[in-house]
């Protein structure tokens, strides 16, 4: 390779290379084509795709889907915790409770509560 061969390609070189067309095809290739051409009628054509099937599927399907989704959401949504229901309390139990709280009843009077709050607290000596 002489020094000229290593020069970078010019734009004209590039255009010529990119635009180059094939001169001829091989006899083997032509033979393969003839065989293929004879087989073409036996190749099943692809059926024409239907474009409107989606909307036929969608319109009856969507309300059903929406209702099903709503049902799923309603069934599985998290419920807020409910307070525990009070148990049954008998009248005798209430009386007993009242009796137990009797000694502390004086504390319920506001005057006594205030007085107690202002008692000086002395540590036991």
């Amino acid at each position: 390779m002489n020094s000229d061969d290593s020069r970078p390609p010019s734009d004209a070189d590039l255009d010529r290379l990119l635009g180059s067309k094939l001169r001829r095809t091989s006899p083997e290739f032509e033979q393969r084509w003839r065989e293929l051409r004879n087989q073409l009628p036996t190749i099943r054509p692809r059926p024409r795709p239907r474009t409107s099937w989606l909307r036929w599927l969608l319109w009856p399907g969507l309300p059903t889907l929406a209702a099903a989704s709503l049902a799923v959401v309603l069934v599985f949504r998290q419920r807020p915790p409910t307070p525990a229901a009070p148990g049954h309390v008998t009248f005798e139990e209430l009386i007993a409770l009242d009796a137990a709280l009797q000694p502390a009843r004086s504390l319920l009077v506001a005057e006594n509560r205030d007085a107690l709050l202002h008692l000086p607290a002395q540590p036991r000596g």
Partner: protein, 211 residues
């Protein structure tokens, strides 16, 4: 009806489906009457001569496209024949809303991408440069230079990303107009111009002799 604001963001997919289903059928695009499309229609109707005409017209452009893309003539021949099988299969459903060349090279490029995905490239089995039509007199300096350039060119093409290579080949080798090329490759006209310039610069850079 356009359902836009009725659904919160997580239901975007549902909104899109509803809008797609609610949209009226697009108006049919005008049919493009090109000679090849008519030939394909004849072929679909059972006219065997139509297939021969299409083959005679497009075999060399397709072979050249695949050869330049893959660097192997046996593979190029396989894919060219496969294009005609695909054309035959889809001929009945072909709607003349785009140029035939767009349709043809769309098929060709899909096959090419499948091939590139299917296997890693084999070492190129180069054709002699005489196979192409630009070679000057044999044994001349020009011929030697052309041989050298042909090897450098094919090697550089193999290093280009597929999108750039296909773009260059469709525009410069197949002489497709920019509109047809853009439609085939899914580009806008502006993007095509930019990409074409970049691809050409990239190819030239790859063909520069290494220091």
């Amino acid at each position: 009806m356009n359902l836009v604001c009725a659904f919160p963001a997580p239901f975007d997919w549902l909104l899109r489906v509803l809008n797609a289903a609610a949209a009226p059928d697009p108006a049919p695009a005008p049919e493009i009457a090109d000679e090849d499309a008519l030939c394909l229609a004849r072929g679909a109707a059972g006219d065997e001569r139509a297939w021969q005409e299409l083959f005679d017209k497009w075999k060399k452009p397709l072979l050249a496209f695949f050869y330049r893309s893959l660097g192997s003539m046996p593979e190029a021949e396989d894919l060219t024949l496969e294009v005609f099988v695909r054309l035959h299969r889809s001929a009945a459903s072909y709607e003349r809303r785009a140029a035939f060349t767009t349709y043809l090279f769309h098929i060709a490029r899909n096959l090419l991408l499948n091939e590139l995905r299917r296997r890693r490239r084999k070492p190129a089995q180069s054709l002699p440069p005489e196979a192409f039509d630009y070679i000057a007199a044999p044994e001349s300096d020009d011929a030697r230079r052309a041989t050298e350039l042909e090897e450098i060119f094919q090697r550089a093409l193999a290093q280009l990303p597929e999108a750039q290579r296909s773009l260059l080949l469709l525009v410069h080798q197949q002489d497709l107009d920019h509109g047809t090329t853009a439609a085939t490759l899914g580009l806008t006209a502006n993007a095509l111009r930019v990409q074409l310039h970049r691809a050409r610069q990239h190819l030239k850079a790859l063909m520069q002799p290494s220091p």
